[in-house]
Amino acid sequence: MSEKFLEVKDLRVVYTQNRKTVQAVNGISIRLERGRTLGLVGETGAGKTTIAKAIMRILPDIAAKITGGEIWLDGVDILKLPPDEMMNVRGEKVAMIFQDPMTALNPLMTVGDQILEVIRLHDDCDKKAGMDRAGDMLELVGIPRERYAEYPHQFSGGMKQRVVIAMALACDPELLLADEPTTALDVTIQAQVLDLIRELKEKYNTSMILITHDLGVVAQTCDDVAVIYAGKIVEFGKKEDIFDHPAHPYTIGLFGSLPGMAVGEKRLHSISGLPPDPTALPEGCAFWPRCPHAVEACKGKIPTRKIRGVHFCQCVKEKEELQEVYSHGRS
Amino acid sequence: MKKTEKTTYSLDFMRRLLKGWSSRLGFILLALIILLCLFGPFLSPYGVNDIDLQNMYTGPCMAHWFGCDAMGRDILTRLLYGGRYSLLLGLSSALLAAVLGIIFGVVAGYFGGKIEAFIMRFMDIWSALPGMLLCIMISAFMGAGFFATVIALTVGNIPGGVRMTRGQVLAERKKEYIEAAESINGSKMAIMFRHLLPNVVQPMIIITTMSIGSMITMAASLSYIGLGIQPPTPEWGAMLADGRVYIRNYPFLITFPGLAIALTVLALNLLGDGLRDALDPKLRD
C-alpha cells in the first residue's frame, strides 16, 4: 500500500436556502491512496456531488458553506489554501468530470478552445503548442483532431462526455473526481466511456473518486466503496467486502433492488419509503424510518462497527447480527 | 378532495407570491390605490368638476391637500376619479391584448404551416411600427374617448403577446401529453384550449400584469400629446396635459398626477416581478 494521498476528515457542508438549512454532508471522512479508485454510492440527493465539489472548492459561494472538517491533499489542507493558490490546484492537481455533458460545455466556445483553456491555465506554453496538446487530448479520447474547431452542439452526448473527459485529463491530474460520468449516456456508450476512463487512469496512475448510483459501474471500476446515505457514510469497505458481505441494511436494500445481483431471486426488492427530508433529518441513524430492522436504539448515537479489515459499518447492530441480517436479506 | 387540493395550491401560491418584501409592497400599494379610487371620491367633500374661482391655482393646503387647478377644481378629488379611468383603461386594454395575443399565438403555434406563416408575417408587418406609433395612429383614426383609446392601446400591443404565446406553444406541443391527447383522438379545439392553453398561459399572466402598467403610461402619453382621453375628463395623463402650461408657476399641477401614474405602475411592476418569481418553476428552487 502506498501513502495516503487524499484524506477528508469529518467534512460538513450546509446549504442555506430561504432561511432553511440543509445538511448536505454530515461529517464524512474518506481516505484514498494513489492510483486507487473509490466509489461513492448512494441515492440522488445523498450529498455525493457536494463532496466532490467541496474537494474542488467549487460549491456555489452564496448558497453553500463548508462548516467543518479538513481536506488533506498530498500533505496540504486545501480548505486553508488562499483562493489564488487553490486555482492552481483546480484543473491541474484535481480535475472533475461532470454529470451532464449536455450542459457542462460552454455552447459558444469550440471544444478545442475549451480544452486549450485549461492547458494554458496550468502549463506555461504558447498558443500553438497548447492547441497541439488539445488536439492530442481529443485524439486520446477518440475524437479526430480535425474537430477541434467545432462547437458542442455539433457533438452527440457521448462525444461531449469524451470532450469533458479530455478537458479533465488535459493537465494529468493526480486526482480525478468523476461525478456520474455515464448517467446521461446510452447504455452502449456508457461502457465505452467507462473503459476510456479506466484506461486513461491506469496510464497516468491517477487516483479517482467515482460518484454513481449504479452498482454495476462500481463493480467494473472501483477498488473501494463508500455507501452514502443522507450525507453520511453508512458503510465502507473494499469492493469485494461490500458486494459479497454487505452489512448495513441500506446497502443490502440497494443490492436487493438490483436485478441479477441477488442470486435466485424471483422479484426485486425495493427500499420502502423516500429519502429523508434533508432540512429535517431524523435523530440518530437517518435510515431508521425506512429500515426493516429498526429498533429504539437507532434513534440514539450510532456506533461504527469494524467488520473485517477496512470494512466498516455504521449501525447499532452487532457484527454477528449484521451478518445475520445480511443472510436474512438474501433468503 | 379536489377542492382542498386547489385551495392549498392557491394558498401556497399566495404565500410564494407575497414572500418577498417587494411583491408585498406592490400588492399593498396596488390594493390601496384601487380602494382609494373606488371609494375615495365618496369621502371627498368636493365634486370632480366643481369649479371654484376663489381657489384657482391654490397650492397644497389643509382644505385642498394636493391643491387646485386652473379652474379651482380639487386635484385630489380629480386624481381619485381619474384613477378609475386610468386603471380601467390599463386593465381592459391589457386583458384584451392578452386574450387576442393568446388566441392568435395558440392557433399559429398549434396549426403551423400556412396559418402560422400568415399570422406571423402579419405580426412582422405589425411590429415594424413600434407600439406607441401605432397607438398614435389608431387613436387619431378612432378619435377621442375611452373605447377608442382601449382599441388603440390594444392594437398597438398585440404582436408581442402573439410571439410569446407561439413560442410557448412550439415548445409545449412537442411534449408527450399533447401527443397522448392526439393519440386518443382529441379534437383540435379541445387539445388547443384544454391542454395547450393552461400550459402556455402562465408567462402571459406575468406579461399582462406588467403591461397593465405600460398601458396606463401609454394612455397617459396619448392624452398628453392631445390624443386619447381628453380634458376635462380627469384621466391622469389628461390632467398632466392640462397642467403642463403652468409648469413654471404651479408645478404641483403636474407633480401629483405624474406621481399617481408612477406609483400605480410601480405597484404593478413589483407585483409582476413577484408573480414571475412565484410562477416560474425555473427560479423556484
Binding site: K53, M56, I58, I62, M86, M87, N88, V89, R90, G91, E92, F98, T103, A104, L105, N106, P107, L108, E117, V118, L121, Y151, Q154, V164, M167 | S22, R121, D124, I125, W126, S127, A128, L129, P130, G131, M132, L133, I136, M137, I138, A140, F141, G143, T217, A220, S221, Y224, I225, L240, I247, R248, P251, I254, T255, G258, A262, V265, L266, L268, N269
Partner: protein
C-alpha cells in the same frame, strides 16, 4: 450567410411596403375632409373640389395608394405636406439630425450604462449595491418617461437654471432630452442584463470553468458575458424601438422640432403625406434594428449561425 442576409433584406422591404400600405390605408380612412381641413369651413364646393384635385385625393383609393407606393419606394419621395406645401422628404432631412442628436447619444448611454449596471448588480447579487441599483431601475421603469422629463425640466431648467427648458437653441438644450430618453432604456437594460447574467451564473459550464481553475474575472468576461449577451441584445434592440416610438412624446415635452414632432403635427392636421413619410421612415429604422439584432445573434451563437447557414 450572405444569402441569408440578402433574403432578410428582401423580406424587410416587403414588410416595409406592407407597413406603408397599412399606414396609408389608416390615414386614408381617417374621418374628415382634408380639403376642408386646409381651407376652412365656409368654402364653396367648387374651390374645395379644386383643392382636392390639387392634393390628388379625388382619385380612387387604389390609384392614390399605387402612386404613393411608387413615389415612396422607387423615387424616395413622399410628396408635399398638405398643410404647408413643403416636400416631406426635404423636411425630414432637416429634422432628422435633431432627432438623431437625441437618439444616438441616448442609445449609447442606454447600452453602456444599462448593461454595466446590470452586470455590476448581478455580480453583487443580494448585497446592498444590487438592491440600490435595482430599486432605482424599478423606479425609472415605472415612472412615465414624459413626466420624468417634466420633473427634470422643473428641477434642472427652471429651478437650477443649468440648461434651457425648451427648444434647441444650443447644445446644452439637448442634454435633458437625451438623459430623459435614455433613462427608461437604461433601467430596462439593467434589469435585463442582471437577470440574464444571474441565469448564466447557475449554468453548469460556469462550474466547469471554475473547475479548470480559471479566475473569476476571466470567467465573467469569457464565459458568462457572451452567454448572457443574447437577451441583453434583445433588450437593447427593444429599447431602441421604444426610443423611436417615444420620440413624438419627448419632442413634444421639450418642444424640439424633430421627426417625432413632425409626425405628431401630421397626425393632428390629418396631413397624410407627412404621417406616411414619418411612419415609413420610423418603420425602416425599426426593421434595420431588428435585422442587425438577428444578425448579431448569429455572430454570437454558433448554433444560430448554423441554422442560418442551412437557409432556414
Amino acid at each position: 450567410m450572405g444569402r441569408y442576409i440578402l433574403k432578410r433584406l428582401m423580406t424587410m422591404i416587403v414588410i416595409l411596403v406592407c407597413a406603408a400600405i397599412l399606414v396609408f390605408t389608416l390615414m386614408y380612412f381617417v374621418p374628415g375632409d382634408p380639403a376642408r381641413l386646409q381651407l376652412g369651413v365656409d368654402i364653396p364646393e367648387a374651390i374645395l373640389q379644386a383643392k382636392r384635385h390639387e392634393l390628388g385625393i379625388d382619385t380612387p383609393y387604389i390609384v392614390q395608394l399605387g402612386k404613393f407606393l411608387y413615389n415612396a419606394f422607387l423615387r424616395f419621395d413622399f410628396g408635399y405636406s398638405w398643410k404647408y406645401g413643403v416636400s416631406v422628404m426635404e423636411e425630414l432631412i432637416v429634422r432628422l439630425p435633431r432627432t438623431l442628436m437625441i437618439g444616438i447619444p441616448a442609445m449609447i448611454l442606454n447600452v453602456l450604462i444599462g448593461t454595466v449596471l446590470g452586470i455590476y448588480s448581478a455580480i453583487h447579487e443580494g448585497k446592498w449595491q444590487d438592491s440600490i441599483t435595482m430599486v432605482i431601475a424599478m423606479v425609472f421603469v415605472s415612472a412615465p418617461n414624459f413626466w420624468v422629463a417634466l420633473m427634470f425640466i422643473l428641477l434642472f431648467a427652471l429651478k437650477l437654471n443649468w440648461v434651457p427648458a425648451f427648444g434647441i437653441e444650443n447644445l446644452q438644450s439637448y442634454l435633458l432630452p437625451i438623459i430623459c430618453s435614455a433613462l427608461p432604456g437604461i433601467a430596462v437594460n439593467a434589469r435585463q442584463a442582471r437577470s440574464s447574467m444571474l441565469e448564466v451564473v447557475r449554468a453548469d459550464y460556469i462550474t466547469t470553468a471554475r473547475a479548470k481553475g480559471q479566475k473569476d474575472r476571466v470567467i465573467v468576461r469569457k464565459h458568462m458575458l457572451p452567454n448572457a449577451m443574447m437577451p441583453i441584445i434583445t433588450g437593447v434592440a427593444g429599447g431602441l424601438c421604444q426610443l423611436v416610438a417615444g420620440s413624438p412624446v419627448i419632442e413634444t415635452v421639450f418642444s424640439i422640432p424633430g421627426v417625432g414632432a413632425y409626425m405628431l403635427s401630421g397626425v393632428n392636421l390629418r396631413d397624410r403625406p407627412v404621417v406616411c413619410g414619418c411612419v415609413v421612415f420610423f418603420a425602416l429604422f425599426t426593421s434595420l434594428v431588428i435585422l442587425i439584432m438577428d444578425l448579431s445573434y448569429a455572430f454570437l451563437d454558433p448554433r444560430i449561425k448554423a441554422q442560418y447557414a442551412k437557409g432556414r
